[in-house]
Homo-oligomer: 361 residues x 2
């Protein structure tokens, strides 16, 4: 059992990491403001885990809403189902939402918590590695719009996060790898020690060795929190966390949400950012090769992909949130564990990178 | 020309009050972060005033969205039209929304500004007396849900408010009176001097005497800001502003949105709050009579109304945001200019008040 404390003044909270946490009433009860609790899950996670939460919460006035599964459901229309449930139960401002599921459930339930009566509490119970290492920290909530991912959202911190590692045993391997993409990202951004540790331990993590799992989640949350604490609303260095995301979101937009997992898109997105960094002579080819090798061992995509169009990727990058007043910005690498946010890059190299990775089919 | 400065630290802004402000480019331009500007208005206000904004802004990349009119349009579905316009124009985080219209436009455009890419700027150009004296201050934004008013929203401050009094000359008399209800409310809450001033000047205000108009708007904004500055997110004394609103919202819910104007519902809501205060022996009948007399001179409803059902009002009061953990709270009067937030009231008297004002038809 490990705890990462996120220090955000009045909005501080703890991330608890360990096996079986969601079944333990005392992990939730002290944080509720009343007995009005809405459990939000989806049709995949709900049948598997909702019982554990139900049993733990016993007497609480627990209401439930079970959403369809998948990134394509992360819309205002699905969010409405959560608002409907809160209002039908006549829940007031003292109520709490429990988000049981991966990033989609966390983002959407968190957004509803941010907006319901202008803000109620929420507890996150992330059930995927990706959501345990990524969306547990940062307070970003959102839904998608047909014209862009995460375009409608709010900053809203949970009151508690329960990263119950027992859920990872039922997680499909592809999704586990997608989570590892974000872990590797923290290494590349500014934690060379974590990157090296992964080079020695990635197979044991993938075999779900409990101690190594907890270490990976703890270290990732610490990494992210160090950045978020300094920059809660993404004015400056928080943008580092977007390593691989400008390309990654464009991949997701190009392919349509749901084709690739988010972490898979981020994996190839990081490779593309590294490629541009290489062309711009920011890094040596040895760093590029180390990144590719680790991502491959984590079973993540690193190769050029024939389903992508360079033109449509470029178009969707222009509307990305990382664009400021028309100026495109990237997170580029100056080495493993040394990344920077910059608008200094060669447009010719950007074009070459896009052409290289988007092979016409 | 008058200015009320709202002091909220980093989120401070000025309310400018005067004739012709919306036609003056320098009232907006210094506050934009880029030339990406979306003008949101409705089919009534747009044709009347949008030209003035267009002419003032000249070279700006001004996009426009014109919404249908009325409280019933204040929904997530209508808000989507604003998100669509922002994304179709490929607007980024540096963009600004101008909300040109009454409270419905301000609430909805402000909510979209709060959520678009997790927060962009907005400038409010309130065109009704109600929105000039009420929604200019406080940063409350929201849309309605079929089961409750303002149930989905956010706290989001404008960067500037332009209360252009020239718009009041085309405002229907009924809507002007609805705005006066909120002005009178400030007097009743904690400004006995304003209440007395209105007893001497209400007819001149209704005749749109410029100096008196500006005074009323300025004084109202000062009153509201004094309260909001101390309590930005409605934990405590801000609830005073809800005088008449627990009853008022229930009236609106009972009748269906749009039957009565918000200010009209607040007028009768204040009378009901005063009636309960009278039964609870908090005020003398002379205070009750003064309130009724002033509201009547402002052409506002004060009489029992046969279209209301006591039962349905009671039901919708239970889901009001002012309910905390099942405990109903009211703003009651201890005198003209002395109101309190309290859950101490006689349920029998509440019942009598509801019965008195909801006459079976």
């Amino acid at each position: 059992m490990r705890t990462v404390s996120i220090d955000l003044g009045k909005r501080s909270y703890d991330i608890r990491i360990g096996e079986g946490l969601m079944s333990d009433a005392k992990e939730y009860l002290p944080w509720f403001r009343s007995d009005q609790v809405l459990l939000v899950s989806n049709e995949v996670v709900g049948p598997e885990y909702a019982d554990r939460v139900r049993n733990a919460l016993g007497d609480t006035n627990l209401q439930e809403v079970t959403l369809p599964d998948g990134e394509h459901t992360k819309t205002l229309d699905t969010a409405k189902l959560i608002f409907d449930a809160l209002l039908q139960a006549k829940f007031d401002r003292t109520s709490t939402i429990i988000a049981l599921g991966g990033g989609v459930i966390g983002d959407m339930a968190g957004f509803c918590a941010a907006c319901y009566q202008r803000g109620i509490q929420f507890v996150q119970v992330p059930t995927t590695l990706l959501s345990q290492v990524d969306s547990s920290v940062g307070g970003k909530t959102a839904v998608n719009h047909p014209l862009g991912k995460n375009m409608i959202g709010a900053f809203h911190q949970p009151v508690r996060v329960l990263a119950d590692t027992s859920t990872l045993s039922t997680l499909p391997e592809r999704e586990f790898s997608a989570g590892l993409a974000e872990v590797i990202k923290y290494g590349v951004i500014n934690d060379p020690e974590l990157f090296e540790w992964l080079e020695s331990n990635v197979e044991q993590v993938m075999a779900l060795e409990q101690e190594k799992l907890e270490y990976v989640i703890e270290r990732s949350c610490q990494n992210k929190s160090r950045i978020v604490e300094q920059d809660e609303t993404e004015a400056g260095m928080r943008a580092l966390l977007n390593l691989g995301h400008t390309f990654g979101h464009a991949i997701e937009n190009s392919l349509g949400y749901g084709e690739w997992l988010h972490g898979e898109a981020i994996s190839l997105g990081m490779v593309m950012a590294a490629h541009l960094s290489l062309l711009d002579k920011r890094i040596e080819s040895s760093s590029y090769d180390r990144l590719i090798a680790l991502l491959k061992r984590a079973a993540l995509p690193t190769e050029p992909f024939s389903g992508l169009s360079a033109e449509s990727m470029f178009e969707s990058m222009k509307v990305d949130k990382k664009v400021h007043a028309g100026q495109m910005r990237f997170v580029l690498m100056d080495g493993i564990g040394r990344s920077v946010v910059t608008s200094e890059y060669s447009p010719t190299h950007l074009d070459l990178t896009l052409q290289h990775f988007c092979q016409s089919s």
